[in-house]
């Protein structure tokens, strides 16, 4: 008997087809399958291989106030009350300036709350990708995020880029290859085949089959549920052939059944985290769950976390003080939570396995609005972090504020397509061959050469 179900087995045995062991007596067959499904939930030995953490900043992060072009007169003119300067404790990047789309360079500084980012930069563990967006950027949160998730800008969205990557490259993967810590799924994980080995849950405590203390001898619901949804049935696989909606729910139930064991096993094995100082907020809790899964050697290679609230049309700062307000708090939460996570990865000895990519659906307009806030814009800056990231490097060019604020509708122009960033992560970090890119990115940007975001060995 195989000790580990790979994805093809998972599909063949659990979702689509009958099993091969039809000749066995029913009870034995069921036992074997149960064992098999348990076995596949065991993490791969050693917890090896690269990990990506996709860090979604939802609402449209104002990267102009995240990575501040503090010497730029246009910035200071466009943001009379929102602007950040030395008096606010911005952290100047002193070792080098960013190349500018206007020619020359743009001196930049981190928001005062991004001390951990600065440390990573100085340690050579963070790269900054400036001027990221896509052609004809949408100013709608929902459309733009659909584009970021599907990696198919300006077309009808049907599946996600992670889903396509797994469909294409992940035949040997277990059922929890992608994990999103959230209550609702992300389009990025959606697969046209409907079989992407990804799961989404918010709280691991509830991602389990709860014992029914009132029900007498048999306490576990899992076996019953497996039966009811046809997971172990030899002939009747429990997936409707005629009813698409029902089949969808049945597959969701099968996937839930298989992945809970995997997640609970890793959480249990992970045990207590090594860093005992985590901030108390939702993002931090998501990252703690992820850290626990990594420590427990979950077979997961793509983690996804989300921090909302970046739609700062108003009260981006409170009256007169840029060291208050919504953006200030958001970046503090982001910095402190990621910092705790990174410390944990270092203590675990996993920091060299992890790459973190932050992204938002768009940046914000150059010129502030009348409500101490900023409206929806276009290009943004991305941060890529990790023990093996080719850090202390700028990628792309910093947009030309003068040109963009005055001529181009007040939104920053892009020079790096986000699909190129995704490709760089897959190709340079996950080791996906270049030949797979057309399948993963059916529509490719003009300049699709991967960025050197990983240090050469």
């Amino acid at each position: 008997m195989k000790t580990k179900l790979n994805r093809r087995d998972f599909v063949a045995k659990s979702v689509w087809g009958a099993t091969a062991s039809l000749s066995l007596p029913g009870f034995l067959q069921q036992t074997l399958l149960n064992l098999d499904a348990r076995a596949q939930s065991l993490p791969s030995p050693g917890g090896e291989g690269p990990i990506v953490l996709l860090m979604e900043l939802a609402g449209g992060n104002d990267t102009l106030n995240t990575l501040v072009p503090y010497t730029n007169s246009i910035y200071n003119e466009a943001r009379p009350t929102l602007k950040l300067g030395a008096e606010h404790g911005i952290i100047n990047i002193t070792d080098k300036d960013a190349p500018s789309a206007a020619g020359g360079v743009e001196p930049l500084a981190f928001h005062p709350n991004l001390g951990a980012f600065n440390t990573l930069w100085n340690d050579g563990e963070m790269g900054i990708i400036n001027g990221v967006s896509y052609p004809n950027p949408s100013l709608s949160h929902f459309t733009s995020f659909d584009y970021w998730h599907s990696a198919e800008p300006n077309s009808v969205v049907k599946d996600g880029w992670v889903g396509r990557y797994l469909d294409n490259q992940c035949d040997g993967c277990g059922a929890t290859t992608g994990i999103y810590i959230n209550r609702r799924p992300t389009l990025a994980f959606a697969s046209a085949e409907g079989l992407s080995p990804t799961v989404t849950f918010a709280n691991p405590q509830y991602f389990n089959w709860n014992d029914q203390v009132s029900l007498g001898k048999e306490k576990s619901l899992e076996g019953l549920y497996r039966n009811l949804i046809g997971l172990d049935h030899a002939v009747d696989d429990g997936i409707s052939q005629t009813d698409d909606t029902l089949a969808y729910v049945q597959r969701a139930a099968h996937s839930a059944m298989i992945s809970t064991a995997s997640v609970q096993s890793a959480i249990e094995q992970g045990g207590t985290l090594l860093n005992n100082s985590w901030p108390d907020n939702g993002l931090s809790r998501s990252l703690q769950t992820i850290a626990q899964l990594i420590k427990g050697q979950s077979e997961t290679s793509i983690y996804y976390a989300r921090q909302g609230g970046y739609d700062t049309h108003n009260n981006q700062i409170f009256d007169g003080d840029p060291l208050t307000g919504r953006h200030f708090t958001l970046l503090q939460t982001l910095n402190n939570s990621l910092d705790a996570f990174i410390q944990e990865m270092k203590l675990q000895g996993n920091w060299d396995r992890v790459l973190i990519l932050t992204f938002s659906e768009f940046g914000r307009k150059v010129i502030q609005n009348g409500s101490l806030g900023t409206d929806h814009g276009a290009a943004e800056s991305l941060f890529v972090m990790g023990g093996r990231v080719n850090g202390n490097q700028f990628f792309g060019e910093y947009p030309d504020l003068a040109e963009d604020a005055r001529i181009k509708n007040n939104s920053l122009d892009f020079n790096i397509d986000f699909r190129t960033v995704y490709r760089s992560v897959l190709e340079k970090w996950m080791g996906v061959p270049a030949s797979a890119m057309p399948a993963i990115f059916p529509s490719q940007p003009v300049n699709f050469d991967p960025l050197d975001i990983i240090k050469p060995l």
Binding site: L139, S140, P185, Y206, F207, T245, L246, T260
Partner: protein, 529 residues
């Protein structure tokens, strides 16, 4: 297109489908009575019985503190959290106890016009929320007995309320504290335009974007967003902060606290060009927000978007563009955006009973909670339990995932079933069957399930059905109640039988019944309607 369903097609299956989609299903007796009504008096009589606008919501009054003279938020955060749970409970009571179609529409509006209490912020948050939902539920109920009622969101600016009309509803929403706060209208002035509301008005509430429902009609442009944003300037909330007076105190007549007013000095009064028009149809300049709404609702695109959304909500995820165009004509030209007459056309149409529509929806979290409550003839779980459940299912009515509400990119309902939500749904059925709430929560001492009424098991499963040899009859009775249009697979029936006989013999037949109910509620089949 939209031909009425022939009388000979009125089957129990179709009757149950209509009862489920226009409301939340019914008990076996209600199912039968509804079917007989349609058989004896015709389908239209059955549909009309669903559309009666008798709802005045008097059975679900606002929480007591809403009418008080003191700061309704309470003194501290804990007090505010209690208020928030009160609002949640009030909302779900509206869904459970209100007229079913009105409740279903209220749920639609709460999604279509989603608001976020985090941005409504501290002051008058609860009052703003309640008034907002009150406006939505009045529109959902339609004009009771044909009477117009005053619009309570703002007494000065909006003409006496005519409820149950989509265009009027958008207008009322644009004058509500909750939306003015959520989408930043209160800070948008002629000199400092904030485009948030203008953009979402076009994208979410009216025109929509993309080609899913039309490829004939132009999309709005960024210039249109700016024009709309300029038109909606100067809308302010009077005395918004408790104890703080502002210039509206001098308004004549004086305004009650927390009402909305137009500050003429902060309004952009310029003539605008919008969606290809430079003047109003009857002549005159395009100036304010009311003008913009009037123009939007005359376009071809707006009724298509709204018809598409309503069809997706009541019927199926992927209506054809031809069907949407036919619906849009009914919505705008035949019914002038009156919602119930439009829905009547949908419920009578043969398209609504197509095989691709039946059972094509996943119950959203609200559907699930209301259906299970009604089917088991019980009441809602305790206030705190409802909030906890909805947090896990991703349906916190005042914290939408985004201001687009609860979006469904993959077709109707799919996004309701994250893996975690699926697991939770399969587990949580025992809340109803076994009062087993404690395992779904930690550190909550408020969730004493003693105040949650026990299901009347003698009605659900009369004792004469409980002997193991009567299992087929028992199962038939339970499925007729909970899964009327479904057949289970043999292997499922076998598992249910094994479990029923095992638990019954160990713990007695009542425990067997509870277990059976729990397992039926946990089935993938139960997640669908």
């Amino acid at each position: 297109m939209l031909d009425p369903l022939p009388q000979e097609s009125w089957t129990r299956r179709n009757a149950n489908h209509l009862l489920q989609r226009a409301g939340f299903g019914g008990s076996p007796d209600e199912q039968e009575a509804f079917y007989q009504l349609g058989s004896e008096q015709g389908i239209e009589a059955a549909v009309d019985s669903l559309l009666e606008t008798s709802e005045d919501w008097s059975s679900v009054p606002w929480p007591f503190w809403a009418g008080g003279e003191t700061d309704p938020n309470g003194d501290d955060y804990a007090g505010q959290a209690v208020r928030r749970r009160d609002v949640t409970q009030w909302y779900f009571e509206c869904l459970t106890e209100g007229q079913p179609l009105a409740a279903k529409l209220l749920k639609f509006f709460a999604d279509h016009f989603a608001i976020d209490s985090a941005t409504i912020n501290q002051y008058y948050r609860q009052i703003g929320l309640l008034r907002y939902f009150e406006t939505l539920r009045r529109h959902a109920a339609g004009n009771v007995a044909g009477e117009d009622h005053p619009f309570e969101g703002d007494e000065r600016l909006v003409p006496d309320g005519h409820y149950g009309n989509f265009r009027t509803l958008v207008n009322h929403v644009s004058w509500s504290i909750a939306m003015i706060r959520t989408l930043d209208l209160y800070v948008s002035t002629a000199n400092n335009i904030n485009e948030n509301f203008g953009r979402e008005l076009l994208e979410l509430f009216s025109f929509g974007i993309g080609q899913a429902y039309t490829d004939l009609d132009d999309e709005y442009t960024e210039e249109d967003v700016v024009a709309a944003a300029k038109a909606f300037t100067g809308r302010k909330i009077y005395n918004f902060r408790w104890g703080v007076r502002n210039d509206a105190a001098n308004q004549n007549p004086p305004l009650p606290p927390a009402s909305v007013y137009q500050n003429n000095n902060q309004q952009d009064n310029s003539a605008k060009t919008f969606y290809g028009s430079s003047s109003m149809p009857g002549g005159g300049n395009i100036v304010d927000g009311d003008d913009i709404i009037e123009l939007i609702f005359q376009t071809d695109r707006c009724p298509k978007h709204l018809s598409w959304k309503l069809w997706r909500y009541f019927a199926s995820p992927d209506p054809s563009k031809e069907l949407v165009a036919a619906l849009a004509t009914r919505m705008r030209d035949t019914h002038d955006y009156e919602i119930r007459p439009f829905l009547k056309d949908i419920f009578l149409s043969s398209e609504f009973y197509d095989e691709s529509v039946l059972n094509a929806q996943i119950k959203d979290a609200g559907d699930y909670l209301v259906c299970v409550t009604k089917q088991l003839g019980t009441q809602l779980p305790t206030r705190d339990a409802v909030e906890d459940i909805m947090q896990q299912l991703g349906y916190e009515i005042y914290f939408p995932p985004s201001i687009a509400g609860w979006p469904e990119p993959d077709g109707s309902g799919n996004t309701w079933l994250s893996t975690g939500a699926m697991v939770f749904r399969m587990n949580m059925a025992s809340i109803w069957s076994h009062h087993n709430f404690n395992i779904f929560t930690t550190g909550r001492t408020r969730n004493a399930m003693a105040e949650f009424e026990e299901v009347d098991w003698n009605t659900i499963a009369p004792p004469h059905l409980r002997p193991v040899e009567n299992f087929p009859l028992l199962l038939e009775a339970l499925l007729g109640r909970m899964l009327p249009n479904r057949e289970l697979r043999k292997s499922q029936v076998r598992t249910l039988y094994d479990r029923y006989s095992s638990v019954s013999s160990q713990l007695g037949s009542l425990e067997g019944v509870k277990e059976l109910v729990r397992l039926i509620l946990s089935l993938p089949e139960y997640q669908i309607q």
